[in-house]
Amino acid sequence: MTKISRRAALRALRCGLMATATLSAGFASAEGETVKIGYAVARTGANATGAGITTIPNYELWVKTVNDAGGLTMPDGSKRKIEVIEYDNRSSNGDLVRSIERLASQDKVDLILPPWSTGANLAVAPLFAKYGYPQLAVTAVTDKAPDFVKRWDRSFWMLGGGHDYANGLVELLSAALEEGKINNKVAVVSVADGFGIDLIKAARPAFKEAGFELVYDETYPLGTSDFAAIMSEVQNSEADSFVAFSYPPGSFGMTKTAQSIGYNPKVFYISVGGAFPIYPGIANGKPDGVMAIGGVDADSSAIKDYFASHTDSVGNPPDSWASAITYASLEMLEQAVGRAGLDHEALSKELSTGTFDTVVGEVKLEDNQLRDLFWVGQWQDGAFRAVSPAGKQGASAAVIPKPEW
């Protein structure tokens, strides 16, 4: 046992204080050298889960990676470390708007990273535009991106719209229909929320045009936890393809229900949550053949490295949809800063016109949108692989029919 005398404790305290003072002085003198990056994300409230899976871990991983490598490279070759200013937006748009104003007008940060969710990104878009910051909106699925780009020319929309995902899925299924692998009957359920509605609205005409018949088409309220009735009706519907435009709780619930009632359609598609790293666990270790929104090129070494470093720093692998895109958006920012510096106008122009090398491959935006995306992925041998669009580099062939649970 060490006995600590009061004098020793005081001395230690004094040393500590001095060290702190020196440290803060050190920071102060180096202040001109850092790049201040701010973000206001949902640490608490309804959006905390989504932000905690897709947004925050990637922001932290990226900042750590950049700072470990000496900092952001400026056009003149010098390196500047990143200093983060973070606020909790409490999942409330009022707080979010105020936090962005604070970052822009009070903290005068060099760059602002966007929040999680479509609504939050739209709420801050006018502010990013007002202060001139480029906004790399990743976690926003919207069909109106072209309009938004016209309205806010420094906004960038990187996750496509509901139509894209619905059409991607229909294209995949109609190829299977033509090959005679499935019949033309489809059972669709959709969650009664912005996302589910966007997708089902786009999917109905697309299915019809491709010659499919929607033999079951129902919505369920957000927060539904018992899917037994829905799933047994779907089971009796003679449809070979089951499609759910769902959020994670629904995706997980329907998977479990399908397994427990022994429902084995040839195509089993769920939406958000299917690409989560916890999905194989939810599916009792039998996720193979399940399709879901998103997908990555699981064989690319960049993706493998990214998954490894994410697992290292966060403790679990990223989801296979928006996570990689989020990280790619940060790499774009990093490279754009390296070429154009921190001047917002030049930076936005570079983001808009430049070509970037990222974890999801080479990225070039079209009309400020990332259009070269995977729409559908499928679990194959324990990895969530992209299967649509089939022609895109890195896509795997879809396995239809899905093996039984």
Binding site: V97, E101, S105, G194
Partner: protein, 303 residues
């Protein structure tokens, strides 16, 4: 003299946007919004002691009305429509529920926000086929601030007027004992209903005025239950049955939460919960009443 002082204070607040940064203006908007919400809430709940958790139901209705009408009508008409919708719904709700008392009323009002949210969701899903609406209005943060300030001032003015009127007296009697109130010839239903509708209209207008700052509105965003809880705790902290009580509770709490969200982003709900408990146990009648009690006790000791 007092009126002059208040007018001067209001003038200073109205000029404040010219002196502060954008973030300062954001803070002002937030603070004034919560002052308005807490004062509007206390207009009904203060004297009658009916604790209502329906704040966000009306606030959200206001925001939604703007989202639906902002492209169809000129802005002043949109605000008037929002107020009318809020008042109409409050009338229906009030007629059917003000017989409830105590905990039943609290639970009902909490359910009301959820009910409105689900109804709007159902309507949007099955009738309009879209969820999530856009508000593109050319209103600057200053415009929003001035509108909210005007609404807040009007709310406090209205409360002051009601407090001195027969209605205010009737409301206080209702709050003390409904049976006594009924026996002294007070029309219970009408008294409660008038105050409830006035209060709800103010809350609806607050939502309508604040909404252009969000650009995008969907039920989950517009009907965030935290707003209801914050409003209640702010009003209770200051003292719900005093004229300036809600304002006095709203401003410091708003600033504390702002500070917490910057410095303790993960633990904010814990503080909120602790504060709730602390207010209920330590200051059941609010800070103002607590201060008075202290002063009186001090006086007794000296005497």
């Amino acid at each position: 003299m007092k009126v002059l002082l208040i007018a001067a204070g209001l003038a200073v607040l109205a000029c404040a946007p010219f002196a502060v940064s954008d973030y300062g203006l954001g803070l002002l908007i937030g603070a004034v919004t919560y002052v308005t919400l807490a004062s509007g809430w206390a207009l009904f709940s203060g004297p009658t002691r009916y604790v209502s958790l329906a704040t966000v139901a009306f606030y959200g209705i206001g925001a939604y009305t703007v989202a639906v009408l902002n492209e169809a009508l000129p802005y002043p008409l949109v605000l008037i429509s929002a107020a009318a919708v809020g008042a109409a719904i409050a009338l229906v709700v009030g007629l059917s529920t003000l017989r409830l008392a105590g905990i039943y009323f609290v639970i009902f009002t909490f359910g009301l926000a959820e009910l409105v949210r689900q109804l709007i969701t159902w309507f949007e899903v099955n009738v309009t086929g879209t969820l999530g609406r856009y508000i593109f209005l050319d209103l600057t943060a200053r415009d929003i601030y001035w509108q909210m300030l005007a609404l807040g001032a009007a709310t406090i003015g209205l409360t002051a007027w009601i407090n001195r009127s027969r209605l205010g007296l009737a409301l206080r009697v209702v709050g003390d004992d409904e049976v006594v109130a009924a026996h002294s010839g007070i029309n219970l239903a009408r008294t409660k209903l008038i105050a409830f509708v006035l209060s709800a209209t103010i809350l609806t207008l607050a939502g309508a005025i604040a909404s252009p700052r969000f650009v995008y509105v969907e039920p989950a965003i517009a009907f965030n239950p935290t707003i209801s809880f914050l409003t209640v705790i702010m009003a209770l902290l200051g003292g719900a049955n005093r004229l300036w009580g809600p304002a006095l509770g709203a401003v410091p709490l708003f600033l504390v939460f702002e500070w917490l969200s910057a410095n303790f982003p993960d633990t904010y709900p814990i503080f909120l919960g602790l504060l709730f408990i602390a207010v209920v146990f330590a200051l059941p009648d609010g800070i103002l009443a607590g201060l008075e009690k202290l002063r009186r006790r001090g006086g007794e000791v000296r005497a």
